[in-house]
């Protein structure tokens, strides 16, 4: 122990457990070495939470990997600077073998994807025992009991059963809890959490963040948290380091940063964060007729089993859902993963078989042939979540925007080229970019290309399935603005599918909340988001992080009853319930705890 640590008169003076000085990292590329992290310096003080915040490419994950010695080898290397622990141990020049004594024992890390961060063919118990035995925390005989205690520590239900289960049998939230249990198994001083809740539903995110805070209090762990989400920053951080393209922009205590950001970038970043509650005014849509009319829509996916491989059960992905959208109107579909919101989007374009009735500008989608579907699809188009995956990487972007026009025989030759040029300008790109390939564009630009492709046929309805979820907030704001402009000019109707309540508050006229394939509540934006009546809606809203460190979010509301399943035996189905109109246009599913709106 250094003399400073024994000094009792030190009081509350911050005591760094980790110091990073002038950290610079280069990555080898075909065009020579590229500096991806430049001169990063910070101290991580005992017991605090420091957030590295920034957009993609800012170098925040690179910093964390460098501390753990997990930089991709041999492509990336530290070219300057130091990373040192409180006792003077230098990390930047350690070998892999030397790092093994640091990892898990002194610094642990949890990752963004709990789905893929656990070994799929090993039980939870053996993955926990492994880290205990590696670092001689207990004998092999004691390991199961110790593993069980760790699982109980992270508040997993049925901990005994989980020990024997495999990762795929656990939900995302539970898997992240297992990851936290593994990370804390050897009681490390420092926990690095790299986007630990980004892949999780908002209610699960709230629970996991609460867990990290509680464990931090109990164990005195210091947390280095990496996130792009300013709501999570406001909720978790003591201090924040804002990063941008590998450089550090601003370091400040969290309240100071949110109240008086000093750099332009931090100001712009905070301004771009969508906030639940500051909903911009929306023009009145033309409600004289509906362009999209969905009545009693159900989508079921059969599950086969038995000797003759017959359908014995169905996944009721969407169950008896009805809604209408007028020209120029946006209906937002919101719900947690697996609630059926994306399936509705696919059903509207006839991409999955469905029952009920879907009319797009009067034309039926359900049960019609391919030729009729082709005609319907001129009026309804889709923009997907991942613009990288929804563009063909071997086709020029111009050709991809032109394709729908060719398929429908609308334009050829120079007329086709003129149309595509016009579409490129329309979405804020230049026509000279037409001959390039998708990899030459940024995420935001790719999504603009996808929007141009969707607009090519001049559709009347656009289904936007998590279309801005994969984008950085600043880019997200621009794409949302583009969508708004297009809607105003073309009187487009949007079905906006999203899990992000704050984004929905920006774009929606009306909101529909879904769970387990059924619609639980629907009404105007003000009715559903400001005056939620169904307990499920209220729980969802209570979990949304508030990007303001001065406003404490109350703990997330408890789950109302058991988690259901959308799988039913053949001939059975979920109990149908009535939607009651509690205020003009505000419909809520009957539920014992439903609050009557005033």
């Amino acid at each position: 122990m250094s003399p400073a640590e024994n000094n009792p008169g030190r009081g509350d003076a911050p005591r760094p457990v980790l110091s990073v000085r002038g950290l610079t990292i280069q990555v080898a590329t075909p065009n020579g070495a590229k500096t991806v992290l430049e001169d990063i310096s910070f101290d991580l003080n005992q017991g605090e939470t420091l957030c590295l915040a920034g957009e993609s490419g800012s170098g925040k994950s690179m910093t964390a990997l460098a501390i753990m010695g997990l930089l991709p080898q041999p492509m990336a290397r530290i070219t300057a600077g130091s990373i040192s622990l409180a006792d003077g141990t230098e990390l930047s020049s350690r070998t892999e073998a030397e790092f093994r004594k640091i990892r898990a024992r002194r610094i642990s890390m949890i990752f963004q994807e709990p789905m893929t961060s656990l070994n799929p063919v090993m039980t939870i118990g053996s993955q926990l025992a492994e880290v205990l035995l590696e670092h001689d925390m207990c004998s092999a005989a004691e390991a199961p009991a110790k593993a069980l205690a760790l699982l109980k520590d992270v508040r997993i239900t049925d901990a005994e059963k989980r020990l024997r289960q495999y990762p795929h049998e656990l939900s995302g939230g539970m898997r992240q809890r297992v990851m936290i249990a593994i990370a804390l198994a050897c009681d490390p001083q420092i926990l690095i959490a790299d986007e630990p809740t980004t892949a999780l539903d908002v209610t699960v995110q709230a629970e996991v963040l609460e867990l990290i805070r509680a464990l931090q209090r109990e164990h005195g762990t210091t947390v280095l948290m990496i996130t792009h989400d300013m709501g999570v920053v406001a909720e978790m951080a003591d201090r924040v380091l804002v990063m941008r393209s590998g450089k550090q922009e601003e370091a400040a205590p969290v309240k100071e940063l949110f109240a008086t950001p000093r750099t332009d970038y931090a100001r712009a970043l905070l301004a771009a964060v969508p906030r639940l509650g500051d909903s911009p005014a929306r023009p009145d849509p033309d409600r004289r007729h509906d362009i999209l009319d969905v009545e009693g829509l159900s989508v079921r996916f059969p599950m086969r089993s038995g000797l003759l491989n017959r359908v014995t059960a169905n996944v009721h992905a969407v169950e008896n859902v009805s809604f209408k959208i007028a020209p120029g109107e946006t209906l937002a579909l919101v719900g947690e993963s697996g609630c059926g919101k994306s399936t509705i989007g696919k059903a509207l374009l006839g991409l999955v078989p469905s029952d009920g009735s879907i009319r797009v500008d009067g034309d039926q989608v359900v049960g019609v042939g391919q030729a009729a579907l082709k005609q319907v699809r001129r009026n309804i188009q889709m923009v997907f979540q991942d613009p990288g995956a929804s563009l063909d990487s071997r086709m020029t972007v111009g050709a991809q925007v032109a394709e729908p026009l060719q398929v429908h025989g609308i334009a050829t030759g120079s007329e086709l080229r003129d149309r595509v040029e016009w579409l490129f300008r329309r979405v804020g790109l230049t026509p000279d970019q037409m001959d390039r390939y998708p990899h030459e564009f940024s995420g935001g630009q790719r999504q603009r290309i996808c929007i141009a492709r969707a607009l090519a046929l001049r559709p009347k309805v656009i289904v936007a399935d998590e279309s801005v979820s994969a984008l950085d907030v600043s880019v997200q704001a621009q794409v949302l603005e583009l969508l708004r402009e297009l809607q105003e000019e073309e009187k487009l109707a949007y079905l906006f599918i999203s899990h992000d309540m704050a984004v929905i508050d920006q774009v929606a006229d009306r909101v529909a909340v879904m769970n387990l394939g059924q619609m639980l509540e629907t009404g105007s934006r003000e009715q559903v988001l400001r005056n939620p009546a169904h307990p499920y809606t209220r729980r969802l809203l209570s979990a949304v992080p508030i990007p303001d460190p001065t406003r404490k979010r109350p703990p997330v509301l408890p789950r109302a009853g058991e988690v259901g399943t959308p799988v039913f035996k053949k001939g059975q189905g979920p109990e149908p319930f009535a939607l009651n109109e509690i205020a003009p246009g505000h419909w809520v599913a009957a539920h014992p705890d439903t609050e009557q709106a005033a």
Partner: protein, 306 residues
Amino acid sequence: MWSYLIRRLIEAALILLGISLVTFVLLYLVPADPARQIAGRSATAETVANIRAQLGLDQPFHIQYVRYLGNLLQGDLGRSYLQRTEVSELIAARMPATLLLMLAAIVVELIVGLTIGAVAALRRNTPVDHGLMVFSFVTISAPQFVVGILLLYVFAVQLGWFPIGGYGTFAHLVLPAVTIGLLGTGWYSRMMRSSMIDVLAQDFVRTARAKGLGRMRIILRHVGPNAILPIIAMIGIDIGLFMSGIVVVESVFGWPGIGQLAWQAIQRVDIPIIMGVTLVSAFFIVLGNLLADLIAPMVDPRIKLK
């Protein structure tokens, strides 16, 4: 599980039925005349016609096939035209030799192939990797009779380490097993290499490193078992590859298995033997694939048999 097994066995029976039909059609269309083969070149047309009638070869195709199928269902593969013995006895006598060769070849393939693939993946894009991949490419492309004759020349004729041919001791087994195994080695090493590279990039391998585990433990406990999953299905397919190889290899090495039996039968248009060997081979291929599908869920808990 049981209903899955029963369904798969019914499927297997249908596959074998299909194969028997296709093979029967092909043999029916072959221009060579078995009766002429049996009677010999100098026999009169009358003798040949007698033999043809005796064997039922003068009947229309569908009658011949239905009769064959009827016997088959009673476990009767018919009698060899030339050897005057039950085909089932001929095959049963030669099956142990072939099964021994198959087992030895699979062991060679798995040990050598998986090791080469794993080493190449761990030393990716180094001279070691390039060298091993050139080797595997050569083993895939080289015809088996060339490999067999080369091995014979070097290790049996020149060095005298192994006998030139025949059956009986372990030394007899080595060269034919290596000849067949080399082809599979090439396939397995390529599969294993790409599978390992995929798994090495997985998030859970990063987690294992973050736990402070050693390199050997990460490779053996985390990378290996996951990398091997896609290989299991390959073993089922591999039996098909093996069956096509034994005809040549058994003849080169004078190995008294069903491959050699088939080779002799093809030369003499001994249709019952050709049919019998084809069906037995098909049976092993179907069985191999079924076993691979049954083993998969034991190794990968995410797979459920339905």
